[in-house]
Symmetry: D2
Subunit: 425 residues, 4 copies
């Protein structure tokens, strides 16, 4: 591992949390150089909803490469892109009565967010964008301006221009409806919050610590956007692709956003991002926004293949069953260790436990890794354990993983007790 | 092709310039659905320096996929990443006495640029960045602030924060040394140009219209940066990876930048970007700058394989020979049509012809495509024909392509003569 | 009056609300060209707390001019400036145990605000400033970024950089303590609200519509600033100089801000602004912030003279009595016209009535002016009648003015009834 | 003087350069507490073009105060304002065939500049503003963004938004026409310099170090503005009011700017600023831009009185004669001390000598003050001695002042010789 220390920037992170040299992976299992097996409750931060090296994808990719299919296409027309568009329309958009146009942006999430914000400002001719507390939309300068966590910004370089933050659902306790507060700010032309071009929101804040917006809150948000002529952008980069149980995370609320950003799992693990927009908003001039890797055709091949999961309701049904299994298992753990103050939150296949003692989550992740489970922390202080297993995970692996969490909980608690007794004696 | 019109955003560009439905590609040839063959003098805007579907890469990728190698790794340690780092050190850095640390950024060029600018500001605790006229560094908000072309910005959304533009080499005629002007601005604390954290520059401006900075100018620029304690960032996204004849484009000037951005061809057609930095500058905190696709392991596999081209001097020697062939061929065309005012510029395997009549270049590209040559325009008004063939192209294909350019020139000139005569009669 | 229409910019405002050609004024009475007398409940938007042409000031000014005293001094030392500093220390600072240093800024309020924000950012090395809903701090670009009302900003030119707005006391109903919300935002490093250099606040929002922060809220705000190492800036431009009953408006809350901006009445009607700062914050380099009119010596003469009002408690006692007279009189009106929905708010000598029907206030102001009372509207929609009489006004004039308000109320109500009946018939 | 040290901010500057406690002043003479007399070659940084305590003004002010004339009028109509408008139209605008509308802005120069920039952006719906190297337009955030000197900005607080700097006349040597460079930047949509709403310029840069734009350069600038549909704003705050020999400084070039900012001497020493604009540009909504002291009526009285100087050509003729006296006297000094490298520059009644050794100017100012002459330095490094005497100064005082400069030159040179000899021995 020395070469990473010698050559890779100090910014490296996960190599520190999960110090193994990984070699191969399949479904929800990863294997290191020595052949040690790890259960993956992380799924590439939501990029591997369909598992590592999904066989159907591997097959399709190999075939495409063998065929000498176009790999890098900029925005030229290619067979692979055509097939992706057809499949996406047929399987995803049409059954949901959605008529979005598709923009292929640079290949990573922040490129889609930047594109959405730029288009929103251009169309609405307004500069302000509203985002929410604990939001995460990416780290390039445009996206960073709507990302809550100040860790990613530093006084020496960062400026916030034309963005404003308002409280997410539940941010100020259960009694206070934060949409009422938003309405007050919008109605009052003297609130300091200029009428925005758009509001950008995650229906479930993943990096922010697994905060689930209620259906009613999302509906009110959509209503308020329509009422004030504000574009609603759902950032579905982490929560789309079935993560919350439906393909789009906003389906549960019965709303239709003006724009949707998709990335992470849409390319089956390969870099790919798209922006969906209502056709009226598609006011770009040709070539006005570009990016070298907006035509990653290998990702189009993978994507078209994976969208087949959504051809029948079976896949969603399976996810629902696994969701319940997760919820039940984690609830049991929360109840078992009732002395440790923590809250379980989640929906679909995204679950988190927030610990009142922020350092608990990091220790738990560490103990879990010792027991060969990969599970990440989230939240501003890393105070949340985040379960983000692949949607294709088997029930057996879920159970095995939950048992490791249980054992790791026990281990952290015991270690802390010993520390406390040690400091007493 | 109807589905692209129906579903893809109006922003699509190259599909309009090159209206074919492409299927496969090999080396410097592309084939459309009907099996028509095209010669590629575009090379994915510099992403395919080693040709389409380079056999060595295809083989390595298939093997890696078959092996179930990690595809998406965030910044976990993987065998593929380790091998890339080793190969990059051994083949590229060590022989050139470079001791850069490597940061894996988001997978497209603009992510590397954003990372470089953020780090420069953080380390130097200064907000300003200087860029050059006709520069192109990407379109996310941070990069856009140092990109010259206002087409990509629109009054309704764009702000320029903390960046300043100064004239590139030769911008104001041959007599004026623009470095002297830069020195004047830096020495004068009242010039309005605040001492910058960094100066970012392309050694050859590709998108800007093939402007080649001289060795002396680049050396003076490096000197002035050292003298004023300014970081020098070479954006080698399009001009690195051998495009100008050496692996890094700045080698010809004998300078060592503080940071270098690499992307496009570094991943052999797959999305990948890295930032190189002098070790002292690596002041990041773990996880302080991240990105979902900073661990695109398939690209690492492709990259490590392609770096083998640089193991011996043969490759660079071959590029030099082809460079001369291009220069000679294009010079002949320029001389042949001496009535058409145009200038040839270039170095290595990047050549451009600027036409005094800006619309000529677009018509030439169109006529060339009718004859099955893919060649793009560049420059603020699309006034330049840009030859950016793969470095691996055969001499026969170069000649064939040049003949098409010749024929297309003839066709444009004739068409114009007919138009003129038509309007006279 | 035609010359104003011909030559003065369309931006002119009060000349439209109060269409008379004014000639002279004395105390709380103004006289137009024809000798018509008006009672002044506006006091130059709080600039004339000590009345028009206060005899003591007029005398001192004439004497100073006759003596050929320095009029314009930049920041040279002058006798007039020395006497102002001595008087200000002796009469204002020392008795209140305040040890502020004084910076003479440009002569109008926004210059003092810009200076305070710049110094706060420089000292704390943080870019963010927090301001409140409905705040008004001036219209030059730095101050405008912390002014709530979007009327003063326009999408075509304005950017908000490095400022964030949070709710003022009572902004979201009586049950919600907005300081708790502020605390939540500050504690959460992922709230999107970066730790600010300073919080700037008016203890009573005048332009914003007469919102009075409670003593407890102000105390909590001061506590939270200390706790999070944030500078507290009280913008006392309109509410200082006795407007709320004490010299500084924050005295009632028993807090000591880090900085205080003073302007308007401090110069007795002549342009003058100062910034007070705790000595540790005075980290300016000589000449680092300047302004042509920072040494308006005629204003220093006026100011020193007027500060004599504060030598004994008599003046404050008199203000307290008049405050009660205002409150009682306005309460009686509110009760008398109980069918008209309105709320009375205020403290000291600043009182406002907010009407649920926003256009009521403007009509009332118009009717009052017909009856020779000058009274302004405030609030984002001009929905508030603002009583801002001079502190030196006589009880007789208060009563006379209140009677006019009563009559004007009656007139507006009758007019509306007639309109309603008219539209019915 | 102790109270200034104890109570006034460290930012104080001129009190350090001219350490006397001033009491009275008349014309071009000032007197300190002890009755010492000083000749004033500084004139309040250009605020006292008509001398200290001009008798006509003093008389008019006293009369106005005695009459209880409105002192503070916001933007209400007053007799004093009406008389100013009439006089300004009759004496200044009409004879010059100018049809500007007048906006009364906040009372100091930077308020007028902020107003001009805001209006330009609003009208043109473009964000960028172009300013020049060595420009000085004020220190509030909007103006600071177009002020060249970085001393007034500090990395910890300052951002440059939407402004760009280009070289002033002669900035890069006599051979290079900087207007050609500007044209190149504007014609090239990829230059990084977005088409600006306005270009703001001083015809003579005062604070920047006495740089005089040539008539031809100014004419070309006006032409280029018209050609590219850019508003031309002349900042005539320091150079207007006759400083360069005509009332407006741009008269010599025969151009008509779109907007003009006036302040400093327009109020005869009292704070006053106005913005002049072509009527078509007056697109403000009522009250859209305000300021407490935009109706400083005492300044209107002073101003109307002083404009009488321009009723006949006598005044301008007198200024021309004095200008020649200054030029001749300073040239003689420059020639006399030919061993000291320096350049004389100027026009009208603004003259500067730039010393190759920057510290020379400061020492000269110091020696001059010892001999009772007040003369300031200018330029980024204080390398210029700036003669800015009142236009009303007598020839005798000019001569006396020039003799002091001569003596001070001698003293500095001798001191330096002694130092050199001391360090040799």
């Amino acid at each position: 591992m020395r070469i990473f220390e010698e050559m890779e920037s100090e910014v490296r992170g996960y190599i520190r949390s999960f110090p193994a040299l990984f070699d191969t992976a399949k479904g929800s299992e990863m294997f290191d150089e020595q052949g040690n097996r790890y259960i993956d409750f992380f799924a590439g931060a939501g990029t591997l909803n369909y598992g590592h090296n999904n066989p159907a994808v591997s097959e399709a990719m190999i075939e495409y490469i063998r065929h000498d299919g176009i790999i890098h296409g900029l925005d030229k027309a290619t067979i692979a892109k055509k097939q992706f568009l057809q499949k996406f329309r047929e399987t995803i958009l049409a059954p949901r009565n959605l008529e979005y146009k598709v923009q292929f942006t640079g290949p990573t999430g922040t490129n889609a967010v930047e594109t959405a914000l730029k288009l929103a400002r251009m169309v609405k001719k307004r500069s302000n964008i509203i985002a929410f507390t604990n939001s995460y939309h990416g780290l390039s300068m445009g996206s960073l301006a709507v990302t809550g966590n100040s860790f990613y910004r530093d006084e020496s370089y960062g400026v916030r221009v034309n963005s404003a933050f308002v409280p997410f659902d539940g941010y100020f306790g259960d009694e206070i409806n934060t949409i009422d507060y938003l309405r007050r700010l919008l109605e009052d032309q003297s609130s300091g919050i200029d009428l925005p071009a758009a509001i950008i929101v995650e229906t479930v804040q993943g990096e922010g610590g697994i905060h689930v917006a209620s259906d009613a809150w999302l509906k009110s948000l959509a209503d308020i956007c329509r009422e004030f002529d504000i574009l609603l952008i759902i950032d579905d980069i982490q929560m789309g692709n079935g993560r919350t149980g439906t393909f789009f995370s906003f389906e549960r609320a019965g709303i239709t956003p003006d724009m949707v950003t998709l990335s992470k799992s849409i390319g089956g693990g390969l870099p790919m991002s798209i922006l969906l927009m209502r056709p009226e908003l598609d006011q770009w001039k040709p070539g006005e926004h570009t990016g070298t890797f907006r035509g990653n055709n290998l990702a189009f091949v993978a994507s078209a293949k994976l969208l087949e999961y959504w051809d029948t309701p079976d896949f969603a049904n399976g996810v629902a069953a696994k969701s319940q299994r997760f919820e039940a298992g984690l609830s049991a753990i929360v109840n078992k260790y009732a002395d440790t103050e923590m809250q379980l939150r989640g929906v679909g296949m995204v679950w988190g436990i927030e610990f009142n003692d922020p350092s608990f989550a990091g220790e738990l992740s560490e103990e879990a890794f010792k027991r060969n489970l990969i599970i990440e922390t989230a939240g501003a202080n890393g105070q949340v354990i985040k379960c983000l297993a692949a949607l294709t995970i088997s029930e057996a692996l879920i159970d095995e993983g939950l048992e490791i969490i249980d054992a790791a909980m026990q281990a952290v608690i015991e270690k802390r007790q010993q520390l406390r007794m040690g400091s007493l004696s």
